[in-house]
Amino acid sequence: MSEISGLLALWLREVKVFTREHSRVVSSVFTPILWLVVFGGGLGSSIVIQGMDYQTFIYPGIVSMSILFTSVFFGIYIVWDRKIDFLKEVLVAPLRRSTIFMGKVIGGMTDSMIQGTIVLLLGPLIGIGYTPLILLKAYIVVFVMAAGLVSLGLVIGSQMESPEGFGMVVSFVVYPLFFLSGALFPIDNLPTWLGYFVLLDPLTYGVDALRGAMLGTSRFPYLLDLGVITAFAAFMIALGTQAFKRMKT
């Protein structure tokens, strides 16, 4: 019983902090808009992909990007908890480490889902037509992606000792995941070497699933995509639970 109430406490804290740190919300919504409007609009003025407007084509990719950034960064924020020593207060509670981890995961997923919702609301503005089924399929993907990516961030954050490593994570984890995911280009006719990397990127399947659901064009069937990202999420959650068990104050 106290594990559940502990889980709830950790979640509640994240939600309260998130809704109070307006800069965090604003900046993480601003970046996707910039990509969509400036990059999508700019490049879209001279190219058309698979018979559709470039801006429309990258929209599912931008939704994935906002989930990617919010989720992974959320995880790394645990470094901040350590810095302000709030982490000690949590670790000294009579809770299992796995509970603490899951509390963080659902907290982060909530942030990402809010973020994702804001970006999804932009869809109709650039001509994406939603039906309840499209939205449901999109939300399932966003939900599973967030679970995996928040866990990934937490795994990294639990091993990091200071915020100085933040830039490294952005360069070596976040950007490669983003650029290799096919968020910005179709993945059908890639050079062989690049194709392999793209297929190794779990985000590829999230983007593909969203593109299939929203635009009706995808490389893999929806359920296959969903299967891959679910497996990724399950793996990251397992890894994160272990990482938290070994985490020091």
């Binding site: 502990g6 509640l12 020593d85 000294v92 009579p94």
Partner: protein, 322 residues
């Protein structure tokens, strides 16, 4: 015994012995002090007891639970106030306490009452709904003290509870601690490098230096061993035969001054003054824990370094904890 520590040792990087074969036990309702300079290993010791650092060797029981075998139950039995602020400053005081109640399994029906009582105890009721960001250092410490008590722990760990506080806040924190012990009968382990604090609050102190306990007893006993001293200045050459005065345990002659070591200075003063034909000034020196510390470690705890030392220790403990 509510706390029993057996051969507890922590070695960092295979050579630095932060805590070295420490043994002690604490009775229920006792206030036990770990007194020592910064970097003596007090915080490391406390964190091992709180199960957030693993010992290299040895173990301990807290409230009957082994820190290695049942860390969850140990954590449920203790309350801890860390040296550095550990509340979330984006949340209000009330919210911080509520999250704590939730994490520590306080029954929901009791949240409101306990939180309000805790806030009242540390006189933060009017500021309960302000964000912790807006609190002063002293208020934040008081909030965290209230938080540490919320789940009604058997043992309260206080790590330098008044470090960095102004004298007024310090005295208030002392008052809260004393009233707690009186009202709730909980046991307290307190680490400090303030002599005065240890003397004022603790039933027993362990003087800890370089990870080892140098001596452990009641502050009054420790001070009694040092003895009280009478210092006479400007005595000139007219020094009586001091060996004839049997109550003088020890004496030392300086230029123009004599220092006598006696058991009860105020009682013996009359006899001493009568024995000396002439002197200019007389001074009674009562022993402090600083003298005790000096005697057992050969060094002084330099209170003047506190601010800087505290900062260094923070860096050191941060590094050590990695």
């Amino acid at each position: 015994m509510i706390v029993e520590v057996k051969g507890l040792t922590k070695v960092y990087d295979k050579e630095v012995k932060a805590v070295d074969q420490v043994n002690f036990s604490i009775k229920e309702g006792e206030v036990f002090g770990l007194l020592g300079p910064n970097g003596a290993g007090k915080t490391t010791l406390l964190h091992m007891l709180a199960t957030i650092i693993e010992p290299t060797e040895g173990t301990a029981t807290v409230n009957g639970f082994d820190i290695l075998k049942e860390p969850g139950r140990v954590r449920g039995s203790i309350g801890i106030v860390f040296q550095d602020p550990s509340s979330d400053d984006m949340l209000t005081g009330y919210e911080n306490l509520m999250l704590h109640a939730m994490m520590f399994g306080v029954p929901r029906s009791e949240w409101g009452e306990r939180i309000n009582n805790a806030l009242k105890l540390v006189e933060l009721t009017p500021r309960a709904n302000d964000r912790v960001k807006k609190y002063s250092g002293g208020m934040r410490r008081r909030l965290e003290l209230a938080r540490g008590l919320l789940h009604e722990p058997k043992v309260l760990f206080l790590d330098e509870p008044t470090l960095g506080l102004d004298p007024q806040s310090r005295e208030r924190v002392w008052e809260y601690i004393q009233s707690l012990v009186k009202e709730k009968g909980i046991s307290v382990i307190i680490t400090t490098h303030y002599m005065e604090e240890a003397d004022h609050l603790c039933d027993r102190v362990a003087i800890i230096d370089s990870g080892r306990i140098a001596v452990m007893d009641k502050p009054s006993t420790l001070k009694h061993e040092i003895g009280e001293r009478i210092l006479l200045k400007g005595v000139g050459d007219s020094i009586p035969d001091l060996d004839a005065l049997s109550f003088i345990k020890k004496y030392e002659k300086y230029d123009d001054a004599v220092e006598l070591c006696v058991d009860d200075a105020s009682k013996r003063l009359k006899a001493v003054l009568e024995a000396f034909p002439s002197f200019e000034k007389v001074e009674i020196r009562l022993p402090t824990l600083n003298d005790v510390f000096l005697k057992y470690t050969g060094r002084e705890i330099r209170e003047g370094d506190a601010a800087e030392g505290g900062f260094m220790e923070r860096i050191m403990t941060k590094r050590k904890n990695r």
